[in-house]
């Protein structure tokens, strides 16, 4: 038999060396180091963009000419105007300098500064994809929470099934389907929503204009939400499932916490963490817009601009939109890291 315990228990459990509280300085440092990493990535994007777009097939000047007959002199002149006759290193330095000054060059196709084109298109894109993101995230979190909480229930099976089905449908196909049914109208279904552009030609002013734009947004937004909300639902559902099986949930129940309070106070906030991270990473892509959806519904956004740039091809425009999209993804990923850090005390002091 083992000897009975002597009261070896120390009277005081001093707080010990871990006494310094993790401070906000820790978070700031973390944010700065992340920002440093992001700057490095952006620099790499600049380098990458410069070389990739100069290695692409086709002579930009000839592309610019678009089959129009130009004399060699004219081509030379054009080449010099674009700085293509200088050594590569000078070209690169010029490129970096211009980019930093937000001078992204002039579009071959539209004959206007790329930055102006982006400026015009970014509003509609942010409006459409931002609204879509908010709806998809809310829908996903709401359904994911319910499905995870009542794991295996009818609601769980139906909502998970439907969202995954929509997720697996090609955007193009779903977009066209919705356009046919609710836009053009089929059989007894009248044309319910406009499906071309962002506003009507005869759009009224003031509040009427807001309504007009809103009605134009319905179908593209619906398409966007339908194909992406599954990922928020699934992340929320699985992380909630994980939280619900944790011992602290049992402990809270044993203390008398009601089920809905257990969900609100413990399970959902903790399960939201991975979802929030995912959302931030997605915000980066919002800027890029939804190329397919914008194309189908002729939405005057960045996605369509990018599509057009590839179709032409318009290298300066492609390069500009490409850089914008990559940089916003990098920035948002960095923000996602920092937000995660702020929300989770475990990582915060690590």
């Amino acid at each position: 038999m083992t000897t009975p315990l002597e009261s070896a228990e120390p009277a005081v459990q001093a707080a010990g060396p871990a006494d310094e509280r993790p401070t906000s300085r820790g978070t700031l440092q973390y944010a700065l180091s992340k920002a440093g990493g992001a700057l490095f990535s952006i620099a790499m994007v600049l380098v990458g963009t410069f070389f990739v777009f100069r290695l692409l097939p086709g002579d930009p000047v000839r592309n610019l000419a678009q089959g129009r007959n130009m004399t060699p002199d004219q081509l030379d002149l054009e080449r010099r105007r674009l700085g293509l006759d200088k050594p590569l290193i000078d070209q690169f330095l010029n490129f970096v300098g211009d980019t930093l000054r937000l001078d992204l060059g002039t579009s071959y196709e539209y004959k206007r500064p790329v930055i102006d084109l982006i400026g015009e298109r970014i509003g509609p894109t942010l409006l459409l994809t931002g609204t879509g993101l908010v709806i998809a995230v809310s829908l996903g979190i709401w359904q994911g929470t319910r499905a995870g909480w009542r794991h295996g229930s009818r609601f769980d099976r139906v909502s998970t099934g439907v969202s995954l089905l929509l997720w697996s449908v090609p955007t193009f196909w779903l977009g066209l389907l919705l356009m046919m049914v609710f836009g053009v109208g089929i059989g007894p279904i009248p044309s319910l929503f406009p499906f071309r552009g962002i506003e009507s030609v005869d759009a009224p002013d003031g509040f009427g204009y807001v309504l007009d734009v809103a009605s134009h947004m319905v179908l593209p937004c619906l398409t966007l939400v339908a194909v992406v909300y599954a990922q928020y639902l699934m992340v929320m559902r699985s992380s909630l499932l994980e939280e619900v099986s944790q011992d602290y949930v049992t402990v809270a129940r044993a203390k008398g916490l009601r089920d809905d309070e257990v969900r609100r106070r413990h399970a959902v906030p903790n399960a939201l963490l991975p979802t929030v991270t995912l959302v931030f990473m997605r915000i980066g892509f919002v800027v890029g817009g939804a190329v397919t959806v914008e194309y189908i519904y002729t939405w005057p956004g960045l996605g369509q601009l990018f599509y057009r740039a590839i179709e032409v091809p318009d290298f300066t425009l492609m390069q500009g939109t490409f850089m914008l999209i990559t940089v916003s993804v990098i920035v948002m990923n960095t923000l996602a890291d920092v937000v995660y850090h702020l929300l989770d005390p475990r990582v915060r002091s690590a």
Binding site: M1, T2, P4, L5, A11, A14, P22, K255, P345, R346
Partner: protein
């Protein structure tokens, strides 16, 4: 063996019962089959008494503990607290939660990683709307040996050691000023060096606060060290119970004997044969008979009980403090 334990035994018999399981059954249906996880248990925990519940993995200890806490509803039988059967209305349960509290094996999982120590300990008082929250939290932390308490308020669980975390969990239970602690393997996931501390803490809480405890464990040495009484569980039932020094120095049930024989001090080791117990297929007769070394060695046959061992179900042991064993062979050797 020692004087303290003799007095403990004397007290055992006179302690009024606080928490009791009466003919408790808990069944689960798993893949279409009924698992009788708790299959007829009588168990009483007296005021200020520490009872150890021992038994191998899967025998139903956690299920019994959860049912005693009201986290699981019994299929039949009842849980009684302070003489009254537990009812499962949310109001009655909420009142009950202040009396009986829970400590789990893994302190890391038992604490919400995003709640500070203060929030964790204050949760109980907040749920029940108790006044002087901060005072309660300070007192609970001090009782649990975390002093000075305010130095721990803003800590997060990951900043503490395993032993300190378990103290926070215990403090969270103590903040409700309960009468009974149900501790499911409270030290099994801790470093050997801090196990003694946590056990000593439980003993001190009993002495200082008069707390009763049911300590679930599969460590007999631990049961010996802290319990007044021990109940040995096998396949959903208590097969032997009684004062700890009696049961553990002179075990009467072959299953207890087999458990004891794996201790390093034991002269010879009994190796149990047969399939591990499965609560979906509880054998008839004595539920231990397929693995019983006494039956296998022919000693039961010598005593003439072997047929009963195989065919006749044993009665459920009552909730008495005295030593008792559910075994036909034991009955013949000790009157």
């Amino acid at each position: 063996m020692t004087e303290t334990q003799t007095t403990a035994e004397a007290v055992t018999t006179t302690r009024p019962t606080l928490l009791e399981a009466r003919d408790l059954h808990v069944e689960f249906s798993s893949r279409g089959r009924r698992a009788r996880a708790v299959d007829g248990v009588n168990l009483a925990i007296g005021e200020g008494e520490i009872v150890a519940l021992v038994g191998e993995s899967g025998c139903g200890k956690t299920t019994l503990a959860r049912t005693l806490l009201g986290l699981e509803r019994p299929t039949s039988g009842e849980v009684r607290y302070d003489g009254n059967p537990l009812t499962y209305t949310s109001k009655a349960l909420k009142t009950y939660r202040r009396q009986v509290q829970l400590v789990l094996q893994d302190p890391t999982g038992s604490l919400n990683p995003r709640h500070t120590v203060y929030e964790a300990v204050a949760e109980g008082p907040r749920i029940h709307g108790l006044p002087d929250e901060q005072d309660l939290v300070s007192k609970a932390l001090s009782h649990a040996g975390l002093r000075p308490p305010d130095r721990f308020f803003l800590r997060y669980p990951h900043e503490l050691s395993g032993g300190q975390r378990q103290r926070v969990v215990i403090a969270g239970a103590l903040a409700l000023n309960p009468k009974v602690l149900i501790a499911d393997e409270p030290v099994a996931s801790l470093d050997a060096s801090v196990r003694g501390e946590i056990l000593a803490l439980l003993l001190r809480l009993r002495d200082e606060l008069g707390l009763s405890a049911l300590v679930v464990t599969h460590d007999l040495g631990l049961a010996w060290n802290i319990a007044d009484r021990v109940a040995v569980m096998y396949l959903g039932r208590i097969v032997e119970s009684g004062p700890v020094e009696q049961v553990l120095t002179a075990p009467r049930h072959p299953y207890t004997q087999a458990l004891m024989s794996v201790l390093p001090e034991s002269p010879e080791r009994v190796v149990l044969t047969g399939e591990p117990p499965d609560p979906t297929r509880i054998p008839g007769g004595c539920r231990f008979h397929a693995r019983c070394q006494v039956l296998a060695s022919g000693k039961a046959a010598e005593a003439g009980v072997h047929t009963r061992c195989r065919t006749e179900p044993l009665p459920i042991l009552p909730a008495t403090p005295e030593a008792q064993a559910a075994c036909y062979y034991a009955e013949t050797t000790t009157p």
